[in-house]
Symmetry: C2
Subunit: 190 residues, 2 copies
């Protein structure tokens, strides 16, 4: 998620309600406890490396919130790892989340800056040396060595303006932050 | 993805082909170039903060690989952020990927250690102070402050054995590594 600043342009419609976001910023500035969110997901093993994760309720604005409907996503390992390939791999979900976050930000920032978007496409690539997860080389990390995101944007704006829109999206992206900075994760057995 | 070690138990079937994984480890130890993978995703803006990301082809074992079929996932912002809620939020995708990765690892490690699983459930929670993404407080990070994953496992094993299975999954998890350690991300406009 990325939410931005400045004024709005009535003639531009990217489908983002910037006025509401600016209102939320003002309201939460005065009520910081309401800005404490907890997102949640429940995961169930299906078989092999295949599992299903569902998001439904979350906490924010001081109360329990819910999606319009629960959303479930299956993940699995690919056939070349002798698995059944019933969905994206979990590392691919990182790329999906990153792209979804940055593109939501691009639409929001563009709206706020009066830039009408016609199309936005991004290609995301993540390099991984699987010598890490396979336990071949303890010096190789398990995760991605590097990730690149490349945008192609058709919009009423100069290349410089579009680069600035993408940079601002990146600056306020929750997922970009999660991937580029360390986050503490506790894993426990109930 | 998490892939593990040791011997297999013929009477235990969690649906994970551990022999193939051990064979892959042996083969890739002798051919490190084949261990260089590139995962990829393409993202297309739909409207507002709603976009659709698809995974299909990837590179590994020295050649282009493909999923059995393309998989697309929609992401969006929730209604309380004045958006249409057409899918999980991008930060929730981080929780989905983390749970999917750790559970695939639990099934694989359990298989390898001769632990028959009956059910595996995980609850994942991520705390986020949205004062970061809203630009209210520059001292607050955009991403999660902390994430917890809590497993409930029904299996033919002691609590200590199950805790060790979960710990080994965590040790070899690509997504756990991506979230807990920094990864370089380059974002550019084509």
């Amino acid at each position: 998620m990325t939410i931005t600043e400045n004024t709005t342009s009535p003639n531009v419609d990217n489908g983002v309600n910037v006025e509401a976001l600016l209102g939320a910023r003002e309201a939460l500035s005065a009520a910081p406890a309401a800005a404490q969110f907890t997102f949640a997901a429940t995961n169930e093993w299906v078989a092999g490396t295949h599992s299903r994760t569902t998001v439904d309720k979350f906490f924010g604005l001081g109360a329990e919130q819910a999606h319009r409907q629960p959303y479930s996503v299956d993940t699995d390992h690919p056939e070349i790892f002798a698995a059944a390939d019933n969905g994206p791999t979990p590392p691919e979900m990182m790329l999906i989340g990153l792209a979804g976050c940055l593109t939501a930000g691009v639409a929001s920032v563009a709206q706020n800056r009066g830039v009408q978007l016609r199309s936005v496409k991004a290609t995301v690539e993540g390099n991984m040396d699987v010598s890490g997860i396979l336990g071949i080389d303890p010096e190789v990390r398990n995760g991605y060595g590097a990730i690149t995101v490349r945008y192609e944007i058709d919009a009423d704006a100069s290349r410089d303006e579009l680069e600035a829109v993408v940079a601002q999206s990146q600056k306020r992206s929750a997922v970009y932050d999660v991937i580029t900075n360390p986050t503490n994760v506790v894993v426990e057995v109930a």
